[in-house]
């Protein structure tokens, strides 16, 4: 846009055409255009005005000019480019891209700049030349980025030009067939063939192309056609499922292809959300969208639509990532540099995925570049991040490697809290991906991920935790319609608690969960109407709840270990996406899950007429190695549909049920890294959920504004909750510490986004409830006397406003406002004395709430100046997290100290945290 404005300004100041008559002698030997221009500048008094990036260094000029005019030299130079030039004030040469600056023609033409239609009526002047194409700043029909096609030829009379190219999936880079490309205002359209190729004639001037295909986001591209040309389009999948949030991490693709109006958060945008300690974070950005929240600052994991933290399936390249956060949830474990796709399915989950009942977070690592070496690095106050992309065999195979590390201990030292003074925390993660393209139909990807965290909160306990993932994926294409992926992977999560006090009770606890996963995924595009996905998947779990080992010769701890849990979880699935017509689309799917607890194992049998305690055991059964001692099966059905009233307004509805055979048990009210994962067994049943949702989606003004309103209702079965004061760590018989009961959650979610303009951003609001009911047959199995009560993360109101305002080209302001209802809490309502000590008496569980959470962050970004020859492009970013310095408690707790009851509130960041960041690119 700026260039265009500049041109308009120039136009008004140019007085007349002036031809330079001084002819030149010039010899160019294998010179680039830039070098040639520099040579002309040296030899003559011409000066050139241009943007260096326009000049294609691959073009080499070998010419000898004798007594040639500047025009003829430049015409030769720019022959193979889409550059034009204009000479004014005798010695000044302006280079322009695509457009010609018209010298005299506009004198005859009405100087009015066309307001309504950007197609200039050629009849206004009887001329053999086509009229110049003016684009005004105020033109309504052009928004966002404009793609220019071809080189303007002032001598052409042609009114339509052919435009062709490929339409590809932005993420997978696969061609998309049957995509309709439509220019609505002119009623011109075409469809792509099976290779994704299209070609059609479109009129000169501005054109707005719309892409239409069920399963893909509608996308608008503004083009200015000067001549025939090629333009490839990249579009995003929308899937027919409700509520998918796409956060695209890699926004480094040619920005020209990106048109406003896609439901995405790009890394470029995440950069504008003020963040704590300057670390970009996809997971944190996701929590600013409706339906995704965290229990509190500094708690692990997220809650999606009132579900527990263990009900989210985090998949990194199809492999489970058990703990997606670092540093007690303050940073996400996902490297933003290497992530190309980040999708959240919070409503209907594709049949391909199972095993978790609330949501799927699908994270995709980008494919390393096969053409040239690339690198990226960041050095920060807390973290450092380096990533490289290394082609091994050009255009065939390449390697991606990225590592991130931290040196955050000094932050904890800076926190003036007795309990944190002796604390330390650090993390490290690394990701590697190797991709080899054997031929058009076969490729192999090998990926590895490793993360480790080390922290010590109470000074004598050191906790470490690690995620490890290894995976191999073989992608095979049978034909254009039939494709497969065979995935073999292993994921593990380990934590280790090392207690090294001065008493003779030193110990070491080690927990380990390991899963081996084999999956065959098939996609069959049968026709325009049907697309089938089907496959099988199987997972083998080994959980070692750990052992306690005495540490040092003086330790009195007796070694102790809890038996391993083994299980096999298998599934077969099929789904069909049915595109009946432009208006109606369905997606139906079914997944059959089989879960078997495997021996060797010893399982207790409890007296069913008494609560499960050590005292009610009536027997024990021992099972041989790999003997299936308990099998649970479940059929999970998925249905979703969409009806489009018109191109910009649709209604979607979905219904699905699911089962989960693994449970996360936490000793605390909020999740922590030392929470253990427990498999279902003889005494712990799988958890189940059913969800119905309905939503309205409306876009305005060519997708500049998006509004969505959704509502959902979920019912759960066998949700695990703990008995009061339960202890899960190294507990041989967890079933005696937990209760299982029904729950439900419901809510309304509203999202309003503005994607373009000086002020952009989004407002997200959700009202949601999450409730649980534990009404067993015995007093100790009842909570709140069997009445429904809110879960620990039931936070009805949740509002996020993210706003960016561009002050000028160089300066922008950003802000993030977050408001949440306070988390439920069990409060002491009185006290009593027994046995000489004073104790608290607690209210019903979660009867009260901690104060509401409110936080405002602001950021200010300043781009470096736009001097053309500057080596590095820089930008400053200054942000203040929690600018109001509000002390938002994440917990309130009570301690009996010296016989007196004291109340404390704890918070993670209670004062404003300013961060100044300097970035530069070159």
């Amino acid at each position: 846009m700026k260039k265009l404005i500049l041109l308009l300004l120039l136009l008004s100041s140019i007085k007349s055409s002036a031809q330079q008559k001084n002819n030149i002698d010039l010899e160019l030997n294998n010179k680039t255009i830039k070098e040639s221009i520099q040579k002309i500048e040296e030899k003559t008094n011409f000066s050139f005005y241009y943007i260096a990036a326009w000049l294609d260094d691959s073009i080499k000029i070998n010419e000898k000019f004798i007594d040639a005019s500047i025009e003829s030299i430049l015409n030769t130079l720019f022959e193979k480019t889409n550059l034009n030039f204009y000479i004014f004030e005798k010695t000044k040469v302006i280079l322009t891209i695509n457009s010609t600056i018209h010298n005299s023609s506009y004198t005859g033409l009405e100087a009015t700049i066309v307001e309504k239609d950007t197609i200039v009526n050629v009849n206004t002047k009887k001329t053999t030349k086509s009229a110049p194409i003016y684009i005004t700043k105020t033109s309504n029909s052009i928004r966002g980025k404009i793609v220019k096609i071809g080189k303007e030829n002032s001598n052409s009379n042609q009114k339509t030009f052919s435009l062709s190219g490929y339409v590809k999936n932005r993420i997978t880079n696969e061609p998309i067939g049957n995509m309709v490309l439509l220019i609505k205002t002119k009623n011109i359209f075409t469809t792509t063939n099976s290779k994704g190729f299209y070609s059609f004639n479109i009129p000169i001037g501005t054109n707005k192309i719309e892409t239409i295909l069920l399963g893909y986001k509608k996308q608008y591209t503004n083009l200015i056609i000067y001549n025939k040309g090629i333009h490839n389009l990249y579009v995003d999948e929308s899937t027919e499922n409700l509520d998918e949030v796409v956060i695209e991490a890699n926004a480094k693709k040619n920005v020209r292809n990106i048109v406003s109006g896609i439901t995405q958060i790009k890394v470029e945008e995440i950069k504008l959300i003020p963040q704590v300690l300057g670390e970009r974070d996809l997971l944190k950005a996701a929590t600013t969208l409706p339906g995704v929240s965290t229990a509190s600052e500094g708690s692990d994991g997220v809650n999606v639509r009132g579900g527990k933290t263990d009900q989210n399936l985090f998949l990194l390249d199809q492999s489970v990532l058990y703990n997606p956060t670092h540093f007690l949830g303050l940073f996400s474990a996902i490297n933003p540099f290497t992530t190309s796709g980040f999708k959240i399915f919070k409503g209907n989950v594709p049949a391909e995925y199972g095993g978790r009942i609330s949501s799927v977070f699908e994270m995709t690592t980008k494919n390393p570049a096969v053409d040239k070496f690339k690198g990226e690095a960041a050095i920060g106050p807390v973290t450092s991040n380096v990533s490289i992309e290394l082609p091994i065999i050009k255009d065939k195979s390449s390697l991606l490697l990225a590592v991130r590390g931290t040196y955050s201990n000094w932050i904890l030292k800076a926190i003036k809290s007795k309990s944190l003074n002796n604390s330390s925390a650090s993390f490290f993660d690394a990701i590697g991906k190797y991709k080899h393209q054997f031929n058009e139909n076969n490729s192999l990807s090998l990926a590895g991920y490793y993360s480790t965290d080390d922290y010590s909160i109470a000074s004598d306990t050191t906790n470490t935790y690690q995620n490890k993932i290894l995976s191999a994926t073989w992608a095979h294409k049978f034909n254009d319609k039939h494709k497969s992926d065979l995935i073999l992977s292993n994921s593990s999560y380990i934590f280790d608690i090392d207690f090294d006090g001065k008493l003779n009770r030193n110990f070491n606890i080690n927990y380990n969960i390991n899963e081996y996963n084999l999956k065959l995924k098939m996609v069959y595009e049968r026709s325009k109407i049907h697309t089938f996905s089907y496959g099988v998947a199987s997972k083998f779990y080994v959980v070692s709840p750990g052992k306690i080992e005495p540490k040092g010769a003086n330790s009195l701890i007796t070694p102790f270990s809890v038996q391993r849990d083994k299980a096999l979880e298998s599934a077969i699935y099929i789904s069909d996406e049915i595109n009946l017509n432009k208006k109606i689309g369905f997606s139906i799917g079914a997944r059959y899950n089989v879960f078997s607890g495997l021996g060797g194992s010893t399982q207790r049998i409890y007296d069913p007429s008494r609560p499960k305690t050590d005292a009610s055991v009536i027997g024990e059964e021992t099972y041989d190695k790999f003997e299936a001692y308990k099998t649970y099966t479940g059929l999970s059905l998925r249905f979703s549909s969409r009806y489009s009233f018109n191109e910009e307004f649709s209604i979607k509805a979905s219904l699905h049920n699911s089962q989960q055979f693994i449970h996360r048990l936490s000793n605390n009210t909020t999740a922590t890294p030392t929470d253990i994962w427990k498999l279902s067994d003889l005494n712990i049943k799988p958890q189940e959920a059913i969800q119905a949702s309905i939503g309205l989606f409306k876009n305005f003004d060519g997708n500049d504004y998006e509004i969505s309103l959704e509502t959902y209702y979920k019912k759960y079965k066998n949700i695990l909750n703990y008995k009061i004061g339960a202890d899960f760590l190294l507990n041989k018989h967890l079933e005696t510490e937990v209760l299982q009961g029904p729950g439900r959650s419901y809510g309304v979610e509203l999202l309003i986004r503005k994607n373009a303009g000086k002020l952009n951003g989004w407002v997200s609001y959700s009202y949601s409830r999450s409730l649980l009911k534990l009404d067993g047959n015995f007093a100790e199995e009842r909570i709140n006397n069997g009445r429904e009560f809110p879960t620990n993360f039931d936070k009805p109101h949740n509002l996020n406003i993210i706003a960016n305002y561009k002050l000028t080209k160089r300066f922008s302001l950003s802000s993030n406002l977050a408001f949440q209802s306070g988390r439920p809490i069990t409060y002491p309502i009185g006290k009593y004395t027994t046995g000489g000590s004073e104790y608290l008496v607690y209210s019903d569980v979660n009867k009260f709430r901690i104060p509401n959470y409110f936080r405002l962050d602001i950021g200010f970004n300043a781009e470096g100046n736009h001097k053309l020859k500057k080596i590095a492009h820089s930008f400053w970013s200054f942000s203040i997290y929690n600018v109001l310095g509000r002390n938002n408690p994440n917990a309130i707790y009570f301690v009996t100290k010296e016989g007196k009851i004291k109340a404390y509130k704890s918070s993670i960041f209670s004062t404003p945290i300013p961060t100044l960041t300097y970035n530069f690119k070159f």
């Binding site: 690095a377 926190i415 305690t613 050590d614 909570i783 006397n785 002390n887 100290k897 004291k902 690119k921």
Partner: protein, 398 residues
Amino acid sequence: MKKYTLYILVFMLCTSCVEEIDLRNFTSDTILVVEANLTNEIKHHSVKLSRTTPLDSVSTLYETNAIVRIKDDQQNVYLFTEMNNGVYTSTQAFKAEINTNYTLEIKTTDGETYISTPQKVEAINDIDDIKIKIDSNSSNQTGVTIYVTSESENTKANYYKYTYEETYIVRAPYWSLYKLVIGNSPRNIVRNDNLDAEASRTCYKTEKSIDLLQTETRSLSSNSVINFPIQFIKQTDSKIWHRYSIIVKQHIQSYDAYIYYKTLKKLSISENVFSQVQQGFIVGNMNATSNLDKKIIGLFEVNSVSQKRVFFNFIDLFPNHGLSFTKDCLIEAPKIIEVVDGDVSYPLYEALTVRKLRFARDNEVPTTQLPGRFKITKKECVDCRYIASNIKPNFWID
């Protein structure tokens, strides 16, 4: 393209992340609190009844005029009468028999009736040994640890609770029978030659345990409690400076009682920023009969008790201790009258009347630090009756 991001500056100003807040009070119904332990000792057993109080309250609310009785499954009924402060004592001495179920019934003046589930003695197991060992604690301070050992073949004796009572000698290092008497003016202070014959040099002090001490043997290979630490006493703690005695009581609990107290303890220990135990109302073994929503706190516990007493002398454990037993008894010798910048004060008079110090010794050679005629010190350093009893307990062995 390469991109380098350089964070130049960050300030961290995060101040205290944990702060104390005011307790909030809720006006809610008070809840009946029961403390009842029936043991296999023949005695007049007692039941304590009280009510919960608001968080900021300093007084205790006793439950009076309630009807309390224990029934067994042999149709025996033991009645309890109110003594004082919510303590109800059985009218007859009795003991809990093994293999007999007991229930506690309480009827309060508001008409509510509460009844326990039947409870019985799980098992009997005697304390075998109590050991005294010189040890050091986590802060590397020297002291004494008291350990209990109880070996058993009884498979039902799995859950143990310990209580103890310690009795120790308190000595007045500046014991004196003399007193200073104040005459008709603050300047007129003399040593009274009429001896205070009651003033004691040696006294006995008894304290009960407060902590909940529990252990279990179910998870162990043998059903024995070996060297379970009852308590650690620092060498500098004056209670072991002379002669010390402890009686340890071992209760064999039921699983339910064990869990109840364990949960109670867990909910009252300190926590850190990143972890909290799920708090909640702990359900005991008593219920309201008419209104199921009516809460009651506490446990009716029926268990067996065995006890053992040991004595030790400080000098036997630490013959070369090098401690000064008078370090808590600072000696002063104030002037009778002092004039500073024209202001007249009477330091000795003030020490005796305001700070209640007592005569220790005559100051034969006054110095600049000790200018007065009399050496005085804290009253308990002269007469131990101020902090303990001078009556030797019956069980005491010198």
